[in-house]
Symmetry: C2
Subunit: 457 residues, 2 copies
């Protein structure tokens, strides 16, 4: 049977089983799994194990010390030469504020061709779509042309605190030839979007303490002011030209390749609408067009996420504060490393008279990218074009951050996201999170086709 016939059979099967797919997804969505509130998380891991077993996947719930368990599944095939991995998470964001939901967040109600539930888009829809594609293959052909691994964690929505530890200690278990990450979705025009990388991050807090207590501001000639100290410290990190002044900060930066820039040029971006939505006349430094997109996705940042000191309520209070705090997130690009940069930052502070300021790292992620011409990336892209019948939008990297580096950098495995269930109206992390059933079905077809793209021996 040739590839086209295989896909026709799969598509027919998928189109005939939509109701069952929807019921399966509702089943998983009805089980709350709110990691931030520790609600239903372990129950969800057990339910997921049950659902994966039913499909025929060899699955176990792996305990994580002081954390939520990982659900790990494997499906081996006698003929397979390669192994395809899926990273997902079964935990969800808190549903609050509940009063803004039109149906209960864990009811998984269907309205107008959409399924409404907390986690349906992020990320349970993608999990079940993958399971359904596997079931389709097994029901029709009895086996798959590729081995599969399912790596499904339960702490993504609280920052994956044990992901690094788990990966470091389970590299053999996790080994694969490529990983599909979480999901993604289609854009306003129905084009599937594919993401090949993410920025890293170093998030730090500066804490300045001077006198033991707040004091009347008439003492300003004698008593050091921690707010001033942080102002001077911060003004040494970055000036209005947006260049980070910490020595050696850019040393490891690898600029984008020509291919990556071409992808940016091909990607849609409604600059006017974005500015209007934010009420901005222009972007920072007057950036526009591809230069703006390049800056967004390929430039390191230094952002004040928070600054607090003294009194900021209405009217005047003449206080000299005793403490000040500032939070700064640095986004990192290939191949900056948060640990290396933290040391450079600390040294810079010490050398410039700010050694007394408490510098705390609140976490770091490495940047990571899979080149667009990597065979796995090409497979992800070509499958999307085939299934969706249109050229996908390929993002060489996002402006945001993701823990893909644990697989991409530490294990050297290509990683990409694509073929996901989302769409621009999915309201991820917000009330009335939903997906369209048609996108869900396309996602099952995408995964089935991706499996079919592998050659057996």
């Amino acid at each position: 049977m040739n590839g086209e016939k295989v896909m026709d059979k799969l598509d027919d099967y998928i189109d005939s089983n939509v109701n069952r797919f929807v019921e399966d997804l509702k089943r998983l969505c009805r089980q709350p799994s709110i990691s931030a509130q520790n609600k239903g998380v372990k129950e969800c891991a057990e339910l997921l194990k049950e659902m994966m077993s039913e499909v025929g996947i060899d699955v176990k719930v792996v305990p994580v010390k002081n954390g939520n368990p990982v659900v790990f599944g494997e499906l081996k095939s006698g003929k397979a030469k390669q192994t395809l991995g899926f990273y997902n998470h079964y935990d969800v964001q808190p549903p609050e504020p509940l009063e803004l939901w039109d149906s209960p967040p864990f009811k998984a109600e269907i309205r107008n061709g959409k399924i409404y539930a907390r986690g349906v888009s992020d990320n349970k829809g993608n999990i079940v779509a993958r399971l359904e594609a596997v079931r389709a293959w097994l029901d029709i052909f009895g086996e798959l042309p590729v081995n599969l691994k399912f790596f499904i964690e339960g702490e993504e929505e609280i920052g994956s605190p044990h992901l690094e530890f788990f990966v470091k200690n389970n590299m053999n278990l996790l080994k694969a030839d490529g990983y599909v990450w979480e999901g993604d979705g289609v854009d306003q025009q129905g084009r599937p979007s594919i993401t090949l990388g993410a920025k890293g991050i170093l998030y730090v807090e500066f804490r300045a303490k001077c006198a033991k207590r707040d004091i009347h501001s008439s003492n300003a000639p004698l008593v050091p002011n921690p707010a001033w100290r942080l102002v001077w410290l911060l003004s040494m990190l970055k000036g209005p030209d947006e260049k980070i002044k910490i020595p050696g900060w850019y040393d490891e930066v690898i600029p984008p390749t020509e291919t990556e820039i071409r992808l940016l040029k091909e990607a849609p971006f409604n600059e006017k609408a974005s500015k209007e939505e934010l009420g901005l006349k222009e972007y920072l430094l007057g950036l526009t067009g591809v230069e703006a997109q390049k800056a967004l996705r390929f430039s390191p940042t230094c952002n004040i996420a928070g600054f607090n000191a003294g009194y900021s309520g209405p009217g005047a209070k003449t206080v000299l504060p005793s403490e000040a705090i500032a939070k700064v997130d640095f986004r990192l690009v290939e191949a900056q490393k948060p640990d290396v940069l933290f040391v450079k930052l600390k040294k810079y502070l010490e050398e410039n008279g700010f050694g007394d300021i408490e510098l705390v790292s609140l976490g770091g992620y490495e940047p990571a990218k899979t080149p667009p011409d990597n065979p796995f990336a090409v497979r992800i892209i070509e499958t999307a074009e085939k299934v969706y019948g249109t050229k996908p939008v390929v993002w060489p990297t996002t402006a945001g951050t993701s823990p893909i580096y644990v697989i991409r950098n530490w294990m050297g495995i290509p990683v990409a996201s694509g073929g996901g269930v989302g769409y621009p109206g999915s309201k991820v992390h917000a009330p009335n999170e939903n997906i369209r059933i048609k996108d869900y079905v396309n996602s099952v077809k995408y995964v089935a086709s991706l499996i079919g793209s592998y050659k057996t021996s």
Copy 2:
């Protein structure tokens, strides 16, 4: 009758009438007059009028539009050549937190030779002490050697919002040859303290707004950050050398005179205890001794009283804030003017790319001083030495701010505070505010003696 005999008579009278003085003070303290909460303020003005009338003072309650009335009293003497003015306020701070009081704040309980009540030190004790001194003079001699004016406002504890307006419109009414301001007190060693001036202030708020809403910090390459804008703005106002960088800021500054510096040298100051109490190893810029005192009382300041932007709670939040606010108070020294400096500040911002930052003045006070060798100051000082039997501590100016400039600068009248009822344990503005009865009695004697220092024609 010579001066000594006059004073002996007065002292005897005062010592014999302590119980009545205490009862009178309790009467005024038992009437709440919390300007911040608009509680009992007008009732207190009426009570005060009644008490002043009983003494024999010609008194009226002068309405203040949209404000609390001024109680104005006058006592003319046929033989007097000069007029002595008293500035006081009959309003008090809120008593909260009530649970920290050992007796109800408006009960005026006596314990261990002290009277406990909100406002007893600040400023009702001084008012009644002055009335008792007048009564003593009238009871014994039937008239005074000096005309008196009592200017008693009801909004001091909320920043005297109508004081400027009232003074501008009542200069004839208020005319006098010298004003005693509020009070003051004795120090740990029982030395009376006298204050001849105050710094001024300019309090401003900087408000930066960028995008319409908070946004994910991954947008930092494109979206301006108002916290950064304020950091850069503030770092342009003052550097770590503590010099204010705004052009012309120091143009009007008049340095302290030799006499003023001598007074500073003579004044007690426990630097070690002050540093220990604040947990400081050293003062700003390593200042110490008279240099520290000079800086405290004679140098302009630029203090960040508040800075708020974004997220400053526990942990990491990757937010790019849409608004930031900073509050800065500038203390001013002779002869800086807040209005002039506000214009210089505004111009500086505009010329340096910060014209879009909203700059709001939250109020200004002029600095004001009465020279230590001014005859009125000399009278205040010499009377203190005579009554307390020890050299007073004379502060040429305070590090803080007071509205004395409306009398000193606008009307050209010398102003000083001294002979007040306070002591270091008075707990002004705090729970268990109190005065010692012995200090109260000394304050009555001080005012009686000050009255007696005037020569008749």
